[in-house]
Point group: D2
Chain length 471, copies 4
């Protein structure tokens, strides 16, 4: 059924203007002023912004971690995402060394296919590189449309790959047109610091932060960036938290290396002191890399402004405080890493970024949607409001004030790390391919209606897009 979104202010990564949008067959068909079509349902956007649906490039839904499983699955997670204005997620597909990659991908399809209420795609973890793995990669790209590979430099003896694996993945990615993503922390050093802390009886959540200091993130980020330059490949650094890592990325970009950095809302507004909350509440704020001292926040904001950081992910990986996070009582290493962020990611960037004058509206859209779509091969189907694009659209009230709380959250976890934070701005209605997922702030979508997205290769966006888009 057709819809006309009327009277809103359309915002893209470049533009801000008042116009109506005609949606037909799930696509944006027409943009103009004073559109009318008797067959179309009218969506009133008066006084609201009309954004392209946000894309979350970094989620871990229903993911096994340390003997438990992250709380939000593709159903609750994507419903919450939609409430927050996100219409696409790209989830990390974990792999097991020695097992066929397709097995892991099939598992990920299995847990998402019948549940996701918005479109989705996968990144693939690379734990090792050998002839066997190399043989499988072309089909991962061709058949599955998975064009981004993640390598962990931390989590020793679990996910951690050595530098040879990272480098070969970068080489292979260049050859195949894929993008390498990296969790940049020095896992060897962390492993030792953690051992020392536990031996010293330092078991509280704050020691999670103190055993992963900024130096280990800065070092690893520099290392990954240098290997990228050497391989003439492309790199995406997930969840950048600190000045040290931003400097490494900026230096690499100055040398002409293709390095892109992502940060997350928690690093922009929360700080290390949260880990010291009493009654084990610090466990709610355990991410890797950890929250940092407050002065890093302005560095991250400025990097989003200058382009040394370019995207915002949630690193959504929620756990209940009771029953999951408390597995780490008496031993911070047993606290599952992560938190429920997927729903509030966009609102926080709008409220703290746009409303406080740190970012323009266009930069906000670029950071939460357009640049992500371009980086991960989803553009121009996703990530913008242009004729021919999927009608993934957010009607956003920029003036409503609300207080973030687990009470009103749609995520499954039993707490919200931003509890009590006041934000301005909220999605009112959200369309996925032209259909309401959220209408007047209520979920009205259909479980399992999200479609799996095969993605384009990375290299296509770094050269002239002529051939690409004239097809």
């Amino acid at each position: 059924m057709k819809k006309i979104i009327k009277n809103g202010t359309i915002v893209t990564a470049a533009d801000t203007y008042k116009a109506d949008i005609l949606v037909e067959d799930g696509k944006i068909a027409l943009i103009g002023q004073d559109l009318s079509d008797s067959a179309a349902e009218v969506v009133d956007a008066q006084g609201h912004y009309v954004f392209p649906g946000a894309i979350d490039p970094h989620t871990h839904l229903e993911m096994p971690f340390g003997g438990t499983v992250s709380k939000d699955d593709f159903e609750t997670g994507t419903i919450a995402a939609a409430h927050g204005g996100t219409t696409t997620v790209i989830d990390f597909c974990l792999t097991d060394k020695g097992k066929p990659l397709q097995n892991s991908i099939d598992q990920w399809h299995a847990k998402s296919h019948d549940k996701s209420v918005i479109d989705y795609s996968f990144h693939l973890m690379i734990g090792e590189i050998n002839e066997d793995v190399l043989e499988q990669l072309p089909s991962v790209i061709e058949d599955e449309g998975i064009t981004s590979f993640k390598v962990f430099m931390a989590y020793k003896n679990v996910f951690q790959a050595d530098d040879g694996t990272l480098f070969r993945t970068l080489e292979e990615a260049k050859k195949l047109g894929a993008l390498v993503m990296v969790h940049a922390e020095n896992g060897d050093v962390i492993d030792h610091l953690v051992t020392k802390a536990l031996e010293a009886g330092q078991t509280d959540p704050i020691y999670h932060a103190l055993t992963r200091p900024p130096e280990v993130e800065g070092e690893a980020t520099n290392r990954a960036a240098e290997l990228t330059g050497l391989a003439d490949s492309q790199l995406y650094v997930v969840h950048v938290t600190c000045e040290e890592a931003v400097t490494a990325i900026a230096n690499a970009r100055k040398k002409g290396y293709k390095v892109i950095g992502e940060t997350c809302p928690q690093y922009l507004v929360l700080d290390q002191s949260y880990l010291e909350k009493p009654n084990f509440e610090g466990a709610k704020y355990v991410w890797s890399p950890p929250l940092r001292e407050k002065h890093h926040q302005e560095v991250l904001w400025n990097a989003l402004k200058t382009g040394d950081l370019q995207t915002l992910g949630s690193d959504q990986c929620s756990f209940d405080f009771k029953g999951q996070k408390d597995l780490g009582k008496g031993d911070f290493t047993k606290i599952p890493n992560g938190g429920p962020i997927i729903e509030d990611r966009v609102s926080i960037l709008f409220s703290e970024g746009v409303k406080k004058g740190r970012l323009s509206l266009n930069e906000f859209v670029n950071i939460t949607s357009t640049k992500i779509a371009k980086t991960f091969g989803l553009f121009p189907q996703k990530g913008t409001i242009s004729v021919g694009a999927d009608a993934d659209i957010v009607i956003f009230d920029p003036n409503v004030e609300r207080t973030i709380s687990v009470e009103t959250s749609h995520m499954a976890a039993d707490y919200n790390p931003f509890e009590g934070m006041k934000v301005t701005g909220q999605p009112v209605s959200v369309l996925s391919r032209g259909d309401y997922v959220i209408k007047d702030k209520e979920f009205v979508g259909k479980i399992g209606s999200g479609q799996y997205l095969k993605r384009s290769r990375f290299g296509e966006l770094t050269t002239s897009q002529e051939e690409l888009y004239q097809k």
Copy 2:
């Protein structure tokens, strides 16, 4: 009369997509696929890009300089600009110390009003700051819509202002919402180096470059940037040519200073060796700052990619080789500075930037148009293709190959500095507010049809644009 631009690939600073555009009353009225309107003239853009008209933020048309006057005036200059895909120019209005600013502005209106074939605006030179000048500035902004002020750190005893003037201009600009532009070279040092060279009988054109080394540009750029940070104001550095200046800008941006850098096509593709051409031909390549050694070029390209430089100007200021440039025979200081660039600016960036994989299409549009419109308060009326914007549109053939030559140029000067350079891509037709200026590569516009543009304040674009665009 209505027009429909059909079958082209529309490119904005964010988007690349196939769609038709309905132009009505000089504005973009509708964007959609397969548009039709029997009352509309069809403009066929099949196989072509549809770009927003480019904006040239840096021209000197019919400008007195060193006892002569730049060759292209608002008629030949804007016709040539239009041929090259430029639909708006912002020209520098020079002022005289001690005289009312309005006098100078009136002069500039007088020479442009009946001549310009595209829309235009003015920057205002600030030579000194005193109570008298301060009193005049609000009306310059309010009444004339001139929201950018240029200060020269070079041209001793001619245009050069001291650091106090620069700093007070920065302070005043912050207060009034204007943008300060700076020609960043240390004029005192240049003055001495020039004197020494002449005393040593070093009178050939190459000494123009050797007496203005990169250090004097790097130093002055750093100085202007630091004063900007101190004043918490905003700065636009015109015609950046070298690594030293790029580093100064990058450092400033890393500290959170609001500093924007512009480069010009000549610095991207020509180098200092051109000044050594025999038979005084080096004089054709005399700009200030001068052309640099070749290794600076990749630094400039990379800076356009990373955002440390953000715009491309032409610094159009053309002189005939015979009769003007040759005033400097036997004394390089008498060579009028500048050259005819306005026509080829866009083509060169497309050919060397997009076609060679250094920039994406969207980055190209941003650098030549959108970012300039946003920076100088012309957005969203100019600088993009969105519903409601002025229909300043370029139909661009990305595949045609041509050789730049004075023979085919529309600029008035008797030579072209890019003579013999092969470029790919050329505007086919150009609309200004919906009317053809160029049609099938022929000028069909009307002399004097260009309108003067009052511009918005700078600060408006750095904060939430909500209030701005919801009006």
Copy 3:
């Protein structure tokens, strides 16, 4: 008369060892263990360090400033210096534009010749460069042995020179083998900030600091360093106070520029908050550049360690609080700039530097003496303990604890800016060319016994010293 300094630990910029020193004819004649000579007076240095006499490269004795004259003259000033372990001072000879340089030099000789109790030399201020000045410089170097010229980038309309003057002085210095010293602050900007502050009724001492922020020092330091690199000359930046300036110097050195930086004890241990002391006491802490926020201190200490800063001066320029500093009540610009530092410079570096583990003993000697002698053409006559050098020797008790106070000070001013500061270490006896100036902490020297020192050219120390020292 001969002397043997027995049982001390001799410390030079390279060495630390126990040995005796035989002094004869004002020179160091012999170094060995268990020396004896019946004709020699024994100076017992058991448990003490034996340092080369410190050199203060930066004093303003009996200097006219703002309608008054600095309190310590060459008599009180050098007596106090000697008490502090300083055996040579290099004072700044101010000049007047348009008057013969020799006039000024003669004035300086007149006020020092009959008063100084230790050896001394002069730097010469360069206020302008013209043919007349250029003609005089060779004889300043040849006849007077003045091989260092100071240029002020601040004190607008008083001492300030323009960039052309600075650059030409650098060029001339290279040609003549002199060293250019620079007071690096942007005087134009300061002048405006001061005017604004006064207009706003901001007249308290703290506004002295707030109108000379670190940015104006960092900018000017970078400017001077770049001009030095361009001229392939040599630069000495006096009284570096902040991270911005240290960064500028470090960057220059990394590029291979010959740039040397000096800091002063006040910047290492005092901070901007002192300017806010009540009852106008902040005036006691008015220097230009001003004291900075505390975090700059560790940057300065580390720069002394890494060599980005290399020397320590006092910038001695004392004024009474009553009768001089209080000229600035109600108008901070009338507070005479400077303070009494000459006596405590060495003790503070020893106590805060060596005793606190920031510097080694050898580094301490280098920073307070050897490097200064080498930089200013006094080496090896001054600045070290080696056979053949002048017997300018300090017997230093490293363990005595004392509290700095005006009560025990030998400087003429009525306050001490370090009042109440506890330091460890103090000179016990001080020899100048073999004669006691200080004996058992009492002044026993002779007024006027100090000799004027002609200094070598700068360049001699940057090349092989073979020819130099084999003569």
Copy 4:
């Protein structure tokens, strides 16, 4: 027997002066002018410099490597060293994982004790850290006086340690007062690049350089420096070759990290093109890290000047071209790494550094001797000319010109990498603890007369040396 070194110009890291030296009981007993002692042998140093014996902190004598053994042992190697003016070597004692450290040390004693003609000491390689190793370290320091531990970040599956081992070694070194030395190249990446090269049939010597690019050295240097800062420990980076590594060290020092860098003569004067010599001669120039492109040389020279690099080692590890280097014909990985450098290290720094004006005489002595002695706990017994120090003394003719050649070399290998290079300056006579080792350019020493040196802890030199030297 006593000796008097007469009429020379004594040069230390601080001083340059004419004086005589009385040597007695192997120590420097007296320094003065015109010394005489009828019982003393006179050593005429007229027209010569008198330097402290140089120290080579980086040798591999009779070391097993890749199935062969380095050619020079402690006899030929130290004889050659002495000819070149070196009077102390510190050799690397390799260890085997799982075996007692003392075993390795005993082996090293066995091969040096009866052979060395000059004094010597050992560094100890740390291949892994575990409880067993940790238990042994205190006695290595206490009993053996080995206070420096080397960790390899390269040579995968041979010497390479992981980051955890490096970090724990840094922690332990801090605790014990030892210095960690690091071979900084990313071995994982090199291992892969080498495998790829061989698979591609790239077997010539030049591929040794191309598979170990500067990026892998720069990255690893930054990594080691960051881990040092994190551990608040101390680091010595051996054989720095490139701008990338210098930048990493400079950045670390700017942050206050205790990082010291060493370079080697081959990197200062040879470049990567040597590896392309025909007839497999490139193999003569195979070091790890490899020779670099020429532009790195000036960066290294400037870093020695500014202090970002502080010492010069030889990395002596010689192999015959025939019979050893040619093991790598058809497979560059089989070329033994290293070359004969021990003899010419000092001459090259003097000739290219001092004579060409890049370094002062004092800096030359510091870099080749004094700073090394201080860094490795040999000072003030070694590394200077001061009363009480060992009489390790070099009489050096600064003006003799010679051409380096294997024909005149005293090293055992069958080629010299500096063959044909003209240098100015050569040791004439060399004393070790007062005895001639070299007299009139002939070896006159005694095989096995060199003594093993136990060294002091590192930390002692970073704090006040008061307690140290007053004993």
